[in-house]
Amino acid sequence: MVKRRWQDIAIGLVVPVVAIAIWQWVASMGWVNENILPSPLQVWRKWVAYLLPLQDFATWREANGGGGKLAWMVSGELITDALGSLYRVVVGFLVGAGLALPIGLSMGASRVAYAWLNPLFQLLRPIPPIAYIPLSILWFGLGNPPAIFLIALGAFFPVLMNTIAGVRQVDGIYLRAARNLGASGPTMFLRVILPAAVPYILTGMRIGIGTAFIVVIVSEMIAVNNGLGFRILEAREYFWSDKIIAGMITIGLLGLAIDAGMNKLNNYLLRWHRGLEH
């Protein structure tokens, strides 16, 4: 088993390594302007510089009026940016999913709620969150609020649609069995319908957090002055293509980490589910 896993990892590394090698080779041959395409080595150096603190410990302490070694170690620009982006994703997602979940549950369970709300949501759903950017700035100004608004909007619809579908697809046999056992009202909803809908809801959340992650980068390019999206746009102004690529790779890594975390949560919450092997 263990051997197998290492083998898989090794195989998975082959293509990226070859791609980087070709990239390095092309760059070192001098065929392209290094401002257009810097070499991987250059990007790596930039990434490390971006990760490490800007100042040495003593200067940093003086500038900040004290602080521990650990705080200094995470004072690098990349870490501040990554945390800033992550914060916006998490808050925006919680707001969006937090609104979508109760609305989706009631729309899935009640025909009346569905009839009242569905037309409005169907109209709003195709409007991409990016189209709200002008309005969001008018309404919320600059800084985190418009970004969080846009992210919440991006996370809202996938969670909503999947929650509605999840409640509607609950197998009638579970409802019959539960009614036979005497379940009704809140017990039926919380102990039978909701858990039966969880696989759908989690799928919606996974899509929703993916959308949130796309929206955060875009919104940082417009309304905020830190975060990974802001940083790669800023780097463009200075023609720092190595920093642009370093920022993009960080976005990729962060996205991967979020998805891996969601996957873990998924596996835990759905440990009863037939389709999963773990």
Binding site: R176, A177, N180, L181, P195
Partner: protein, 264 residues
């Protein structure tokens, strides 16, 4: 003693896109306390429809069902149902499934745990208490479903082809288990099956139903001593007699299907 379950002139008609289908026509039955009744017939004879009417899932179009003299108005824990598809809640462990009905009743946690423990022992499920249904075989799942219904301590047990999806050996095993429980707990059982042998093996009384409209073709008492031997001559004589009756209905089912296909 009055009958435990009275089925009084029950009819059930399904109306769908202009077609009218009479699933049950004027069914009347009286089932005394503690009787093990099998409803036997080919698919489409309305035996499950009748069971659903007794369970309260689908009320009859006309006529009524009485349980303990009270008209059935909806499903309830006094008429526990075991489904062919097990219908265990996959997000609950075995013990949570078995305890769910008691939880709904509002029983105290400690009492539930004790009762669930007893039931798991009764059905040899102790080692599976913390497992999820997906980790169990079909036979084990159906044991859990039976334990879940027994937890309610309902005087009436309704079983809709509960062993239909199991292999022959597991099936016999669970049939014996069911007979043991029935003798011990003295429940009234209504058991739907299309297996003639299963009906003879289990029942005090076999009600053979006709294919559309569903009516009672024959209502016979089986007075062979238990445990019954499926190889015994009396068993086989009964099997032959019932077999002819059921095959007649099966043939009508078959002809109707051919005719329907020709019309479409």
């Amino acid at each position: 003693m009055t009958a435990h379950i009275v089925i009084d002139n029950v009819s059930k008609v399904f109306d769908g896109d202009g077609r009218r289908m009479v699933a049950l026509q004027d069914i009347s039955l009286e089932i005394p306390h503690g009787q093990f009744v099998c409803l036997l017939g080919p698919s489409g004879c309305g035996k499950s429809t009748l069971l659903n009417a007794i369970a309260g899932f689908a009320p009859p179009t006309s006529g009524r069902v009485l349980a303990d003299g009270v008209p059935v108005a909806g499903p309830g824990p006094e008429r526990g149902m075991v489904f062919q598809e097990y219908a265990l809640f996959p997000w609950m462990t075995v013990e949570q499934n078995v305890g769910f009905g008691l939880e709904i009743k509002g029983m105290a946690r400690a009492q539930i745990a004790a009762r669930v423990g007893e039931l798991l022992k009764l059905l040899s499920l102790e080692d599976f208490a913390k497992r999820y249904p997906k980790d169990l075989s079909g036979g084990m799942r159906q044991r859990v479903a039976i334990a879940r219904v027994l937890a309610l301590d309902s005087p009436i047990l309704l079983m809709d082809e509960p062993f239909g999806a199991l292999d022959a050996l597991t099936r016999r095993n669970l049939q014996d288990e069911l007979l043991r429980l029935w003798a011990e707990l003295k429940k009234t059982v209504i058991f739907v099956t299309h297996s003639i042998e299963e009906a003879i093996y289990l029942a005090d009384r076999i009600v053979v139903m006709t294919y559309r409209p569903g009516t009672i073709k024959r209502d016979i008492l089986v007075d062979l001593p238990r445990l019954r031997d499926p190889a015994a001559p009396e068993f086989n004589a009964l099997k032959r007699e019932l077999g002819l009756m059921v095959m007649e209905e099966q043939q009508r089912h078959h002809d109707a299907e051919i005719k329907a296909a020709a019309v479409d």
